[in-house]
């Protein structure tokens, strides 16, 4: 995979403020092309664009929930690594999702942008 071009990231998160912060931080920090979706359905519509990686909130408030979205993405695109986002109080659900095949999970507020970048790059490289 040649990453001279920007790394394509899909963010699926229904909280606009959180998405805005994450998207701003990623674009500022590295060579990332971010596409954000507020619902799982919107993400699935563009899944054939084959992003390099997907960051998915495990609990989406509107439409299909995070777990259902995860299962569909994972079955259609098993090679695309998925990072699960969770709140501090939702760790168990995130861990369960990871056991179902997500690459990793991160707890909101408990990671730095540098750590997130390392996790993203590691996942994309497949190790």
């Amino acid at each position: 995979m040649n990453h001279q071009t920007a790394i394509s990231i899909f963010i699926v998160e229904d909280n606009f403020l959180y998405t805005y912060m994450l998207e701003s931080a990623l674009k500022e920090h590295g060579n990332f092309k971010v596409t954000a979706f507020a619902t799982g359905e919107e993400c699935l519509e563009l899944l054939d664009n084959n992003p390099d990686i997907i960051i998915l909130d495990h609990l989406l408030g509107k439409g299909m929930n995070g777990l259902a979205t995860f299962k569909i993405i994972h079955s259609r695109k098993p090679k695309i690594p998925i990072i699960i986002l969770s709140c501090q109080t939702d760790a168990q659900v995130a861990i369960d999702t990871m056991k179902a095949g997500a690459y990793d999970y991160i707890q909101k507020q408990n990671y730095s942008i540098g750590e997130l970048e390392k996790t993203l790059l590691k996942a994309i490289r497949g190790n």
Binding site: E13, D14, N15, F16, L17, Y18, Y20, M21, L22, S24, A25, E28, H29, D57, L59, G61, K62, C87, Q88, T89, K108, Q109, S112, I113
Partner: protein, 131 residues
């Protein structure tokens, strides 16, 4: 059980200590003031909308709305590290999921509004340093 000063303050409907901590936001943005200010602007717009949605949900006894907005607010407040709100929102989310105890939800919502209003004042004041 001993309560923290902040918990005592909430019971008295007053909060003296700052509730926001911008360390996380600063780290995520690399301390870039224009980016921090832009995120603060979104926070100041979004939080009142989320509070109103929860209050509307309570008025209609719409537990699904209460659950969903309590959940999403955990993400919103985490950006400003308003950690005192996390257990309150978690309890509201859990009660919303169980569709029970609207009186307790109302009580928690009062605390939520009190703390959020203080957070808004803190961020509005802090934002003046980023212009």
């Amino acid at each position: 059980m001993l309560k923290s000063e902040s918990e005592k303050d909430i019971q008295k409907n007053t909060i003296i200590e700052p509730v926001c901590d911008l360390t996380y936001l600063s780290e995520m943005t690399g301390g870039k003031k224009n980016m921090m200010k832009a995120i603060m602007d979104v926070f100041l717009k979004q939080i009142p909308e989320e509070l109103q949605s929860i209050t509307d949900g309570i008025a209609k006894a719409d537990y699904l709305v209460i659950k969903n907005y309590s959940h999403t607010m955990k993400s919103s407040v985490s950006i400003m590290s308003i950690s005192i709100l996390i257990p309150i929102l978690k309890e509201m989310e859990d009660l919303g999921a169980k569709a029970t105890d609207l009186d307790k939800i109302k009580q928690l919502n009062q605390q939520l509004n009190l703390i959020c209003n203080q957070a808004i004042r803190e961020i509005e004041k802090e934002k003046l340093n980023y212009i």
